[in-house]
Point group: C2
Chain length 466, copies 2
C-alpha cells in the first residue's frame, strides 16, 4: 500500500473502529430491520414505503446528495437513490442493495422475533440482517466513515436501494430503461452474497438464472367427500404428486425432455479449477447436518449447486391439513417451484419445455396449468477490470488473504439485466456466511463480518479511487 | 296401513304440515346451525359446549326427560342425552345424531356465510345443514309432533347427540363402555346418510371403514435457500410427492403390498344385485361434472366407491405458497390421507402394511413418519328385523316407493362400535341428497326432504311401536 493511500484510509478506518460508532450503527441497523419489508406480501406495502423514507433520510444525513425516492414502475415498490459526485476525473461507482426481505414463515421456528433485531453472542439476528439490509448498510457505513471525517469521498458514488429483489425484480427492465442515465457508472459493487467460509472472502463471478413457476391441478368443481367418492375420482393432490414425482428421474436428473440440451459443458480443466476452491461433499453435508446428498450423477454437490441446473419445489398446498382430519377429495392442489438455470439455458425455452412436459404428465381426469411468475437469465461476469483489481487488493488488506472467485447457485435477477444494459463490471463481494439462514428462520449476520465489511469497502473506495 | 295406525299418525302428521310449525322449525334450525361446532379445531370448544347446552334445553322443551349433558371421556367433547320411557311393553328406540360439523375451509368458496343458515329456493344452506344437524333435527321434530299433540309417544325413545363424529369419534369405545346401560335399546335409527337420489330413499347396510393417517417427511433441519442448494439436497416436498405417487400403481390400484389380501370377493350374483340399484358410471360423472372416472380396473365407479377399498389424499402442505414466491427448500412436508376399508380388512394390519411400505418408499436423504390419527372397521349390517320392516313401511307410506338397500363408501365409526357393543340393528335411513355438498363449501339440505323426513320418522315411530 502506498503511504498516500495509507493516510487516505487511516482516518476513516479508525473512525469505523470506534466503539461509539459501532454501537450507534447497530442501533441504526436495528431500526432498519424493524420495518417488515416483505415485498411478496401486499399487506406490507406501507412498511416498504416507510422504510424507503427512513433510508432516504439516512442517505441525506450521511451527506449524500440528490437523495430521492424513485417511484416504482406503474405504482410498484419504490427505490431509494442518493449520490456524491464531487471527484472529477475519478471513476463513478454504483452501490446497489435491496431493502425488501423474504417472508418469515414458518414464524414458529424463529427463536427471536424476526423484526426485532437481537444480538446473541457474535451475531445479530433478524429478517434481512444478512439479506440484504445488513449488507448494504456496510456500504453506507463506509461512506459515513469518509464523509464524517474527511468531508469527501475518494471517488464518485451513486447509491441505489431496490425494494423488489425478493420478488425477482419484476419491474427491473422498465426501471433500468427509465433510469439508465441516472445509474450510469463505471462499475457496480453489490454485497448480497456470502463468503466461501468464515475466513475465505470470495467474489462471485457466476450466478444461476431462475424460472419461478406456479403449478395448479384442478379436479372436481368443489371438494368431495373422500369416503363417498374415494377410489372413483382422481384426487388432484395425487395427480399433483404424480406430476412432481415425474419431474425428476430416479437418479435425480430433471426429466423434462430437452432440459439439458443448451447446458454448456465445462472443460475438465475448468472443473479442476473449480474443485480447487470449493467445498467438498462431506463438508457441505456437515454444514447442513444432512446424512447424504442427492442429485445428478457425475457431479459433486458443489457442481450440482452451481454449474448444473436444478428444479426445486418451494411450496405445496391443497385440501385440509389443519388440526384434526377433514375427509375430502379437494378440488385443487397447488405447487410453486423454481428452476435454476445455467449458461446457456434460455428461460423462455425452458418454460415452454416445462409446460409441455407437465401437460404430458397430466392425467385426463384433471387439468393442470403452469404459470411463469418470474424469470432471470444465468450470468457469467468478467474477472479482469481495474475495479475488480481494486476489490482484490481491498480484501487482501483487510482479510490478509486474496478473495476466491466462486460461482453461486443463487440468482440476482438484477445482475444479469444490469450487466446487459450498462455493460460495466459488477463486483459481487458479499460478507454473508453460509450459516446466515437467509430465506429461513433465524437469519443473522456475523458482527465481525459486518465491521470487517465496512473496513473492506473503505479500502476498496480508496483503491478504486486511486 | 291399519285404520288404528292411521288415527295414531294423523294428528302428528297434520301438525307437522302446518306452515306455522314449519317456519318455527326452520328458525330453530337456523339457531342450531349458527353454532360453529367444528370439533377438529380446539378453538371451537366453547361453541361445542354452548351448542350442547342449547340442545339440552331444546330436548327438555320437547318434553323429553332425564335430559343431561354427558361429559366427554377425559374432558373431551360432551354428548347430549334425553329420553321418554313411558310406553311399557313397547320397544325402545335409540335415536343417534351428531352436533359437531366439518371445518369450513376453503371459506372463500362459500356463497353464503357457513354459520348463517340461508334459504335459497328449495334449500337451506349452512355448515351442518345436512351433516348432521339438519338430519337429527328431523328426529326431534317427529318427537315434537307427537308430544305436543298427543302428549305421548308410540314407543320408548332415547336421544343421544354426539359431538366428536367428524373427528372419527376417538373416545367412543370408552364412552360406550361407560354408558352402555343408559343407551340400551332394541334398535337404533340414524339419519346421517343420503338417499340414492331425489326420489329414491335408501337404507344403507354397509359402510367402509377408515384409517386416518398423517405422513410427515423431514429433510434439512431448517429451510434452505433453493438457489444455493437446489440440485444437491433432496427436497422433502419432492420426496413426499414421490411417496404419495408410489402409493398407487399406474392403473389406480393401491400399491401397498398385501393391501387387498383380506378383501372379501363378492359373488357375481351379489355384484349383479348391487348393479341393479346403483348409479351407472356416466350418471356419477354427470353428477360430479367430471370428464372421466379413475381407479381400479374391473370395477364400476359405484363398486370402487363402496365394495372396494380406497386411499385418498385429504390435504398436503409444505414450504411457502402464499403470495409471491419464497425460494426455499423447506425442511418438512406433511400430507393427511385416509384409507377406506372394506370387509374383512383389519385397520391395525393395514396400518402396519402402510407404515412399512412408506418406509420402503422413503429416500435415505430424508425421514418419514406415518401417524395413525383415527381408525374404524368396515361394517355390514343385518337387513331383517321388525325395526327394519317398520322403516321400510314408513318409507313406502311417505315416499310411495320402497327404500333401496345400498352400500355407502363413507364411514360412521360409531356404527361398527355400536353394533359390536349393543348387538342391535342399526337403521341408516338418511334424508340427505348426493348434491348436499357435505364436507364441502355450500352444504345444504333440501327443505322438502327435511319435511318428508319428519313425516317418515312419525310413521316409523308408529309402525315400530305398533
Amino acid at each position: 500500500m502506498s503511504s498516500q493511500l495509507l493516510t487516505a484510509t487511516a482516518a476513516p478506518l479508525s473512525y469505523s473502529r470506534q466503539a461509539q460508532q459501532r454501537s450507534r450503527w447497530l442501533s441504526q441497523l436495528t431500526q432498519l430491520v424493524a420495518f417488515p419489508t416483505i415485498s411478496a406480501q401486499p399487506k406490507h406495502r406501507r412498511d416498504l414505503q416507510a422504510c424507503a423514507q427512513w433510508l432516504a433520510r439516512h442517505l441525506a444525513e450521511l451527506g449524500l446528495q440528490n437523495v430521492q425516492i424513485l417511484p416504482g414502475i406503474k405504482g410498484s415498490i419504490p427505490s431509494v437513490y442518493g449520490d456524491w459526485l464531487h471527484a472529477p476525473g475519478k471513476s463513478t461507482l454504483l452501490l446497489y442493495g435491496h431493502y425488501d426481505v423474504q417472508p418469515v414463515d414458518p414464524l414458529g421456528a424463529w427463536h427471536t422475533p424476526p423484526f426485532q433485531a437481537t444480538i446473541i453472542g457474535e451475531n445479530l439476528y433478524g429478517r434481512g440482517a444478512s439479506d440484504d439490509k445488513g449488507q448494504f448498510f456496510i456500504h453506507l457505513k463506509a461512506i459515513e466513515s469518509y464523509l464524517r471525517i474527511t468531508g469527501k469521498l475518494p471517488l464518485n458514488i451513486k447509491v441505489w436501494l431496490e425494494g423488489e429483489e425478493e420478488i425477482s425484480s419484476p419491474n427491473l427492465a422498465a426501471f433500468l430503461k427509465r433510469e439508465v442515465s441516472r445509474l450510469k457508472a463505471d462499475a457496480v459493487l453489490i454485497s448480497d452474497t456470502e463468503m466461501l467460509d468464515r475466513d475465505r472472502p470470495s467474489i462471485i463471478y457466476s450466478l444461476r438464472g431462475n424460472l419461478s413457476c406456479e403449478l395448479t391441478v384442478t379436479g372436481p368443481r368443489h371438494d368431495l367427500h373422500s369416503g363417498r367418492y374415494g377410489g372413483a375420482v382422481l384426487n388432484p393432490l395425487q395427480a399433483l404428486s404424480d406430476i412432481i414425482s415425474g419431474l425428476h428421474d430416479r437418479q435425480g436428473k430433471v426429466a423434462i425432455p430437452g432440459f439439458y440440451r443448451q447446458v454448456k459443458q465445462l472443460q475438465p480443466t475448468e472443473r479442476q479449477k473449480i474443485r480447487c476452491c470449493c467445498k467438498r461433499d462431506q463438508q457441505i453435508l456437515d454444514d447442513l447436518d444432512l446424512p447424504t446428498g442427492w442429485g445428478e450423477a457425475g457431479y459433486s454437490l458443489y457442481e450440482r449447486m452451481t454449474i448444473r441446473p436444478a428444479l426445486t419445489i418451494n411450496g405445496i398446498n391443497g385440501g385440509y391439513t389443519g388440526s384434526g382430519h377433514k375427509a375430502v377429495i379437494p378440488s385443487l392442489g397447488l405447487a410453486r417451484f423454481s428452476i435454476r438455470l445455467v449458461p446457456d439455458q434460455e428461460p423462455a425455452e425452458i418454460a415452454q419445455l416445462t409446460q409441455r412436459y407437465i401437460q404430458s404428465l397430466t392425467h385426463p381426469a384433471v387439468q393442470s396449468q403452469v404459470k411463469i411468475t418470474g424469470s432471470a437469465r444465468p450470468v457469467l461476469l468478467p474477472k479482469d477490470h481495474p475495479a475488480i483489481a481494486a476489490a482484490i487488493k481491498a480484501v487482501k488488506q483487510t482479510w490478509k488473504v486474496a478473495p476466491v472467485f466462486t460461482r453461486s447457485g443463487g440468482t440476482i435477477p438484477l445482475v444479469e439485466q444490469l450487466f446487459q444494459r450498462l455493460h460495466i463490471p459488477i463486483i459481487l463481494l458479499g460478507f454473508g456466511l453460509p450459516d446466515d439462514n437467509i430465506h429461513a428462520p433465524n437469519e443473522k449476520i456475523s458482527l465481525s463480518n459486518f465491521f470487517l465489511g465496512v473496513e473492506t469497502v473503505i479500502q476498496f473506495l480508496a483503491e478504486y479511487g486511486k
